[in-house]
């Protein structure tokens, strides 16, 4: 196993970060559908892409979590983005290469990427 001592050093820094961010930010949430349907459609790389992009940009106020099947399996991988003060936005049929744009335009700048949303997917039909 990679050095656990290294992790203990990270811990101190993380504690300081947590103390700081509590005062600054409202939290945002990214929720990935990770039931059998989501996983089979490619949810895992999408979820890991969100984690990586959020870490890369040091967006400490954003948490990534998972949910089960919401009954629209044909639209998986699906992701809900909750920003404080905004309505939930549901993205559908995501691939990892779509993730950086959602993080940059929506989570950072507050403008949902409309063409990836469930609304756009349903209009296309």
């Amino acid at each position: 196993m990679k050095s656990l001592a290294e992790l203990e050093a990270i811990r101190q820094k993380t504690l300081e970060n947590i103390a700081m961010r509590k005062e600054v930010h409202d939290s945002a949430r990214v929720v990935v559908g990770m039931a059998t349907c989501g996983i089979a459609a490619g949810a895992r790389p999408v979820m890991l892409a969100f984690v990586e992009e959020i870490n890369k940009r040091k967006l400490d106020h954003v948490t990534v979590s998972q949910t089960g099947c919401v009954g629209m399996c044909r639209l998986e991988p699906m992701v809900d983005v909750y920003l404080p003060g905004q309505e939930k936005v549901t993205y559908v049929k995501l691939t990892p290469d779509m993730v950086p744009r959602i993080v940059a335009e929506h989570i950072v700048n507050g403008r949902p990427v409309l063409e990836y949303t469930i609304g756009a997917a349903e209009e296309k039909k």
Binding site: M1, L4, I10, T14, I39, A40, R44, L48, V51
Partner: protein
């Protein structure tokens, strides 16, 4: 499912849903190409009635979606290679699911991104349960235990950005030499 690591991710979610505090995942690849995958949890277990039904895709308890298609699909993919899937479960004690596959069989799915599965599990369940992964192949052994990691991290949630970044490196470094690169 495209590969075995995705099956593993899917099936392990059942253990999490069963309220386990510890999920052990053991992967053993023998010299002769047979792979054994064991997922053992201390969750709420299944009644004998449910246990008898879980391998059927059409006998799912719909309101909870506790089983669904995950188990039957894994079973089919194991049986295609000449292997199989068995489940032992005791109500109130936990469940142990064992899958055997012949990776030399042409119908065997590739192993896929095993570290990615473990990382997803840990990051999606940063507080509970604990995961203990143990792998063995002709290349050697590997071990990832979130109880140790949690202790070193001083009880902080394991999805904290700095910890997640450490985890990502650590998990890939630990598992890839053992299962990566093998012709799976």
């Amino acid at each position: 499912m495209r590969d075995l690591s995705l099956h593993l991710l899917d099936l392990t979610q059942n253990s999490v849903s069963a309220g386990a505090s510890l999920v052990e995942i053991m992967l053993t690849l023998e010299e002769n190409g047979w792979l054994t995958m064991v997922i053992r949890d201390n969750g709420k277990g299944m009644s004998p009635e449910l246990l008898a039904r879980v391998t059927s895709p059409f006998a799912t308890t719909r309101t909870t979606r506790k089983v669904g298609l995950g188990i039957p699909m894994m079973m089919e993919n194991a049986e295609k290679t000449g292997g199989g899937l068995t489940i032992r479960s005791t109500e109130g004690k936990g469940t142990e699911l064992t899958v055997t596959l012949d990776t030399g069989n042409i119908d065997c799915l590739p192993l896929g991104d095993l570290p990615g599965t473990l990382l997803s599990l840990i990051l999606m369940h940063p507080d509970r349960p604990d995961f203990h992964f143990h792998g063995a192949s002709p290349q050697g052994e590997c071990d990832v235990d979130t109880r140790e990691i949690r202790q070193a991290a001083g009880g902080l949630p394991l999805n904290e950005p700095a910890i997640a970044a450490w985890l990502q490196e650590a998990v890939y470094e630990e598992i890839n030499p053992i299962f990566g690169g093998a012709n799976l």
